[in-house]
């Protein structure tokens, strides 16, 4: 029996107080995610239950029970407090998927500070714009990533501490650096958890838009209510589940469901900190008897590409429930997973700003492969006309996805960017920036983004950011960046570039520019293809018409070119 039991019954008389009651939370009380994810589970009698089973790329393993999760996150909290970290200070986690990232997340929250997780593959430019915006006080990182921080340290006077979790005792620490050995640190039995309230800020995740700098999405401790209940009803987390969320906590799935949802439900979760390989993933499922697997279409398509033969080498019979997030899950992938695993991956739709699953396929519900499913109980979702911002009255029409604000994990603002935050609302609806239709049975069908943001492997990349980075290369005169279709990643970054006089297009220059962007921003933002052209299509006022380049890549009609320069 699934936790949700019946979707149709749940949507009748739904109230978020269902989650509040299950969590013994009453409005006005203290609510601290760090406490709910560790101390509370111990109080429920599960102190000795495994909370986190971690495996590194060399096969090394670490295990933490819920009591160890509690004590070790206390240790992180105490260390930060002793350093002088104050409530609402921003503490950045800049690490691979190591235990310090998961437990550090809870430890920071216990102090009342705000966690700012950043993807460890970010380059120095990506790092500095996000740290600058947040005015981050401390960064917790690893030895291997410290050089990227040191490189930009002079530009960040607000950073007071760089905490290295695996410092080499034989080597001196750098400026503002301090070592912290989490597993061997003193673990206070009674750590005074900061009494955060529902609206106290908790997590600051960064996301990219079409224009401007990345935006810091501010979440609050009350987001727990949504994250707990969606984990329970959609991911169907049950007490004896062994759960694997493949997402990196540098991104929102990795925190909402890779930390908060999992631990607040008291399940055992496994983490594999290694690069992708089909063999290794299937081995991991077999070894740990994973029963609930939350992954991403890119990974699923990579597994499809690896073929069905490799699956036969492993016993994957422990798998009970599969779900997917990041970008639309194509029907072929749903059908394939049903064929090879005996279970369909259920697509879930949400984004950094929503904090939790909004539209989804539920256990027990009729699945229409390729559909996003239906709104979570308590979520009012529809499709509206892009011109009038009014909902369509008949099914099948393509418009903007619109969500009625008010669920617990809705972002509270963009950090120091209230103006952009306000622009996300129209006519009383929050607009995530995606287009879809709704069929006659109420299922949503994803169509695409409503802007130029590139969704590559489930991560949003701003064309503006990539174009700006390209312009910093000495050979680049102008650039335009668009999405290009890709089987595995759905979309990848493609750049059109004109060169400055004296530079000649070549394969070596192409590679040099690719690496330049990769190091500045991140591997995700690196153009997978660069096309050198003589001129970019522009309007008569000089604005680059990305739309034309995009249409060319996707084999679409170019549309109105009346404003095109030299047309």
């Amino acid at each position: 029996m699934s936790n949700i039991i019946s979707y149709d019954e749940r949507i009748k008389n739904f109230d978020w107080s269902i989650a509040e009651k299950e969590l013994d939370y009453q409005p006005g009380n203290v609510i601290n995610i760090g406490w709910y994810c560790s101390d509370r589970i111990c109080k429920l009698g599960k102190a000795d239950k495994p909370a986190l089973i971690w495996e590194g790329s060399a096969g090394q393993e670490k295990r933490y029970t819920y009591n160890e999760l509690r004590l070790t996150s206390n240790a992180v909290g105490q260390f930060l407090r002793d350093l002088g970290i104050q409530p609402e200070d921003r503490v950045c986690l800049f690490m691979d998927k190591i235990p310090e990232l998961y437990i550090g997340f809870l430890g920071v929250l216990k102090t009342g500070a705000i966690v700012q997780p950043l993807f460890s593959a970010f380059g120095d430019e990506s790092l500095i714009v996000r740290l600058d915006n947040a005015q981050t006080t401390a960064i917790i990182t690893q030895r291997k990533h410290a050089p990227k921080v040191r490189k930009i340290l002079d530009k960040m006077p607000y950073i007071k501490h760089i905490i290295i979790v695996d410092a080499d005792p034989a080597k001196p620490l750098g400026e503002r650096e301090v070592a912290f050995d989490m597993d061997n640190a003193p673990k206070p039995e009674n750590f005074e958890i900061h009494p955060t309230l529902a609206e106290s800020p908790s997590v600051l995740h960064y996301t990219s838009g079409t224009t401007g700098q990345p935006k810091g999405v501010k979440h609050v401790h009350y987001s727990l209510i949504s994250q707990y209940l969606t984990s329970k009803w959609v991911l169907d987390l049950q007490d004896d589940d062994i759960y694997w969320c493949t997402a990196d906590p540098g991104w929102v799935t990795g925190t909402s469901y890779g930390i908060i949802g999992a631990f607040s439900n008291g399940v055992t979760q496994c983490v594999l900190d290694a690069g992708f390989s089909a063999d290794n993933w299937y081995r991991f499922i077999e070894k740990h008897k994973i029963s609930m697997w939350y992954s991403a279409p890119t990974a699923i398509r990579s597994l499809m590409k690896a073929g069905d033969e490799v699956i036969k080498k492993y016993d994957l019979s422990s798998l009970r429930h599969l779900a997917s997030v990041g970008e639309p899950l194509n029907s072929e992938a749903v059908i394939w997973s049903e064929k090879v695993f005996g279970k369909a991956f259920l697509d879930t739709y949400w984004q950094t700003e929503t904090g939790s699953i909004m539209i989804t396929n539920f256990p027990g519900m009729k699945i229409k492969p390729g559909s996003m499913g239906k709104p979570f109980p308590g979520i009012t979702a529809t499709v509206i006309d892009a011109d009038t911002y009014e909902p369509f009255n008949s099914p099948g029409k393509v418009g903007l996805i619109a969500l009625k604000p008010g669920w617990p994990s809705m972002m509270r603002t963009y950090w120091r960017n209230e103006e952009t935050y306000k622009k996300k609302f129209r006519n009383g609806w929050y607009l995530p920036g995606d287009r879809s239709s709704i069929d006659s049975e109420g299922y949503f069908w994803f169509v695409g983004r409503d802007d130029d943001v590139i969704n590559t492997g489930g991560h949003l990349v701003s064309p503006f950011e990539v174009e700006s980075a390209l312009l910093e290369h000495p050979a680049v005169a102008e650039s335009a960046v668009v999405a290009k279709p890709d089987f595995v990643n759905m979309e990848v970054v493609k750049a059109f570039v004109t060169l400055k006089p004296g530079f000649v297009a070549s394969k070596d220059l192409d590679l040099e520019i690719m690496n330049f962007v990769r190091k500045k921003l991140s591997p995700l933002a690196m153009p997978q293809e660069i096309e050198f052209i003589d001129t970019l299509p522009k309007t008569r006022s000089g604005k680059i018409m990305r739309r034309i380049l995009h249409a060319k890549e996707w084999g679409e009609e170019i549309g109105d070119t009346s404003t095109l320069e030299n047309d």
Binding site: K144, P147, D273, F276, S277, R518, L524
Partner: protein, 80 residues
């Protein structure tokens, strides 16, 4: 082959390794998280430019790129 290994190793260290980690010819690059799937594209491009070859996408798998030794074996297939 030894020359090629040295060239590939040097490129990997220069482009993908931030700290002073030791990279041997057998160090797992993809499964070890040193080179991610997106960065593999630039590594493939480097090999194609350097050795004037074209590696088909179905041969450029995470397994085939998982160490300097494996990469050189793959490149040799196309340089013969």
């Amino acid at each position: 082959m030894e020359d090629m290994k040295s060239v590939v190793r040097e490129y990997v260290v220069r482009e993908y390794v931030e700290d002073d980690s030791e990279i041997t010819y057998d160090t797992p690059l993809i499964s070890g998280g040193i080179v991610d799937s997106f960065s593999m594209v630039s590594l493939k491009r480097f090999l194609e430019n350097k050795y004037k070859i074209s590696i088909p996408d179905d041969k450029a798998t995470p397994e085939a790129f998982d160490s300097v030794n494996k990469i050189c074996t793959l490149v040799e297939e196309f340089t013969k």
